[in-house]
Symmetry: D3
Subunit: 235 residues, 6 copies
């Protein structure tokens, strides 16, 4: 089984990190192909970066035919609907993956993401997926995405503080980490705080493996119909 | 006052039609600048076309500084969030404009759009805006966007049939036409069916004029903060 | 265009203030007629005052035929449904007007109103309009309506404090002022706190102007049908 | 125990009928005082009639101090909030009474009311009480309120037809009759259709008796605080 | 009228206490039969205890034919649906009873229950009944159920503290006590805190009396159909 | 990895069928242990059967320590919360499993289950999981659970008819089969009707495998805390 893991920003070091997280969890026999677009923003923080990353993201899908499943490795789940229309295989985004898996382990979870500007997009996704009622609160740690690349010291302290607040104030029973760059912190955070801590990349890889083994593909009835053939002017 | 009306597809005849609809309703002293991107899909039908149109849409905004307000003239409201981050002036999309205005005239409205594949995206928007409870049903007339350019005969009959069903089955008290290309049918449909029929382009122009006169701009706190300065690789 | 602006309480100085706010925003060519009933409560604070004001409010509408639109200038939006049944022209209440306009500028807004007793009625309206999910919290500043008539000193400080809490605790991206008497504070509060601050009177005037130019009227199908002719005993 | 049952319209024959329904169900020792205002509409059908009836309704409450509980016998539950502020005793409206009782007997119920114009107000109440999810559909039989006073022939057939549709199409497990004038049909309709059929007047009387025996009164914290003393101009 | 009040745990002293609370409120002529299963958990705290108590609870119902109504006296309302299928008479659980009655007295109420582990089950019930929007917050006082049997000193202080927080932070207008063992505190708590305080046992008894006098029984259409006859293996 | 698959009814032939479905999908290296309780109902159809099956279900969990994950193979998901409290490993029920997986493939799905009496319990679960908005309709085919054991002729025709209605009337983009006994029909139904058709047993097995590989367990904070040690009287 071949799973295409797309980091929709253009920071190659983050792609490497995400690919490593995916490989750690992948079953024997699953090949992980971690890629990023060659054009687009260096990180995706907020609605504008989301929109600007879509053309590159969809181009990557077009350039990798023959995959069995696709993981979209940006926690805003940007481009998910369009990717489902375009790809012939199942597509799972890391935000939705973590939300669904957390729902199997806890009555309510809280999300700890990076910047406040990303919170509305995540809340919007939760509403749309139907899982807003399962999420106690979307919290921002005010750690920039690319800072997660460097020494974890102050970033870790900020994330710890938000998790403590989520347990005390939100009565969260599980934590979803709201950024692909936080993937290597889950075990340590779970041990320290005593509750399940989920990373979307790992969740999405197992969901893709499941969908492929089940023989299930995106529905072609309704909203995810394949794109109609039409004139497209290119720049 | 200068309002930039963006048709996010690349069909110039539709831009002309939308611009004419905007000018018909604009107040004396309002200048309408109707434009479309030079690259992108010829029409926007479903999630994939939405995503593919965003880069062109945002480029148009960047090329027209100094406007007082922007209308996004695609009923899927694609790119609305990103445009709000990017632009210094208020941005109103035609779907949301029609939903808000219809809410001032009727307990419940139904939407009559073009193709079934567009229905989930519209339902998703309604949920997100909070107005899903005000919409009785999103109906598709199975008329393709570009067919609305030509003789209205069979297209009109299909739209009529859906409006009748909306009144009888949905108990709709108003109708929102779910495509910028239907703008010139409102008066005739309203007369025939005896209830308010709304076109998003006209609604959005008046809402923009109102926001400008009120001196209100998009909030910069939270989700609509201006895009962060960062490296962006271009293709 | 003639817009009837009804202050549903009997305090003439407040009617004058509301009328001035309406005139400041009205387009050239729009005539504002600001009136109040001759019987009813001196201010509307809570459900009982709302109910007691309705007969006077509806009488005022009956006495002013030939208007193009009506603004109901009480933030509880009391009498809105009945006024829509009675009037031949569009009717917009100031609460709903501010909620709809704020939804075009911010992912979430908070309301700052006068007294705690008014909060449930406002929350009830938000639910009903469908916009409850867009409102982070309805806050009361514990400033009485008629105190807003006098020196703004302590009242302003209380309103400032609630706006700060709305930004910090609610993550509000815009503020709706929940009382017609606060209309002249918007610009100053917006400058001080750095986010859009909306007054319902101004919002409602521009929405009425828009509806009139669009040629739209309240639907007569369903709930807003004109009152049935029947025996009515008068006291 | 004395329960004041207020028919908010001015049709005395309907007051008599409602009073009889209340007395049939009242416990030994409960005195029923059935009254109607001397001014107001002859029947309440839609939002305008609701608003016009409130002054008379509240006046009746003021004229009957010393009651132990009050039933508002109009299915739109108009004036309920204001009555709770004004009265020193519990107030129960017949719509809410029937909805709460039906929720104890069935997973979902449907409402069968009189005219289509009353449907939005009832839906609005259901939303507000929180019980919209328990109501499968609000149906109108197109029987006018005052026609229920006369021979039941054609009216009964129309109500039967709507109940059959509610069972088949809505999967309703119980029926709430949406008009005080239908009170004497419950047993017969329940026998014929094989499911619980509820009348709000009877439900409200038993709820009032329960609240009085429990020693519970309307909360004075928040929205139902007693009306503030203030100047009120009377016509 | 005979009402069977079932304490679903096996602690006889609590059954006595609950029976006394039921008798205090029962009308003249109502016989209260308070019982508990002979097998099952000593108290019900959380989902596991709920499940483990069901067989005993249903056996008690089978052993007491000929009752006019049944009260399920555990605040988690466990077994309510199954009991409705099994019993020939109305069944009311104490959680739902208190929620419905509180909705007649207050715009919003808060629940004060025993342990944090019970909170999700109560929230789940509120959602399902439709009354989640009427409940400001479910609070736990961290008092164990069986501790309520003993000296009230520290338990009372903890409950007082939660009620104060409910008024200040949640803007609750009424309090529902979330445990059958708190029944004798209502009057004292109501006096002290100045708002309605409801106990589910008393509420459920009056609702049962009402349903019996109304001649209403659980619907047999749909989800509460009597159990199908089938092979059942017994241990 | 060892997954315990529990058929909570006592029909051994159905356990065999469910076990076979689980083994077909299980990864190499996953051991499936399919069991059923020795006491309880022969099939689970409605709320009463659910309740009566719980003791046997929980006893089976206690008798199989050392499993890595547990699948509850009844579409009502009965006992899920209690099982999560009791078991040391992740527990996934087949209803929730299918709902979550369908949400990754379709904007909306419909459920086709056996009997009308099971519909409210399924709707209740969907509400609680948060996924009600993703489910267009829960349909019953009026095929009894145990009839699915025999010749598929008439049962298949009834299921086909409901799937056609789900596509046409509900605009469902995927179908969830609402009974463990329908597991071997998915591929054939999917081919015939041209959309994804999901069986909960297969979905739950892959979700369990994912959770185990992710190292995630049920949260012990809040509602799923391990059962408190207390006196339990056994019959």
């Amino acid at each position: 089984m071949r799973i295409l893991v797309i980091n929709p920003n253009t920071t190659a070091s983050m792609t490497t990190k995400i690919g490593a997280a995916a490989k750690r969890i992948a079953a024997a026999g699953t090949e992980i192909i971690a890629v990023n677009p060659c054009s687009g923003p260096a990180s995706i923080e907020g609605y504008y970066d989301e929109a600007i990353s879509l053309a590159g993201l969809l181009q990557v899908i077009g350039e990798h035919p023959g995959c069995d499943a696709i993981v979209l490795a940006c926690f805003d789940d940007s481009g998910l609907d369009a990717a489902r229309c375009l790809a012939d295989c199942p597509v799972v985004a890391i935000g939705e993956a973590a939300f669904h898996m957390a729902s199997l382990l806890a009555n309510k979870f809280s999300v700890v993401t990076t910047l406040a500007r990303s919170v509305p997009a995540i809340e919007h996704n939760l509403h749309r997926y139907g899982l807003a009622a399962r999420c106690a609160r979307v919290r921002s740690s005010e750690v920039a995405v690319l800072d997660l690349e460097h020494a974890a010291g102050p970033a870790r302290a900020k994330i710890d503080a938000e998790i403590r607040r989520a347990i005390e104030e939100d009565r969260a029973e599980a934590i979803v980490l709201g950024c692909a760059g936080m993937a290597d912190l889950t075990a340590s955070l779970s041990d320290q705080h005593g509750l399940p801590v989920l990373d979307g990349v790992a969740c999405a890889v197992t969901l893709c493996e499941g969908l492929v083994r089940l023989g299930l593909k995106t529905s072609r009835l309704g909203g995810y119909a394949a794109p109609a053939k039409k004139d497209r002017k290119s720049a």
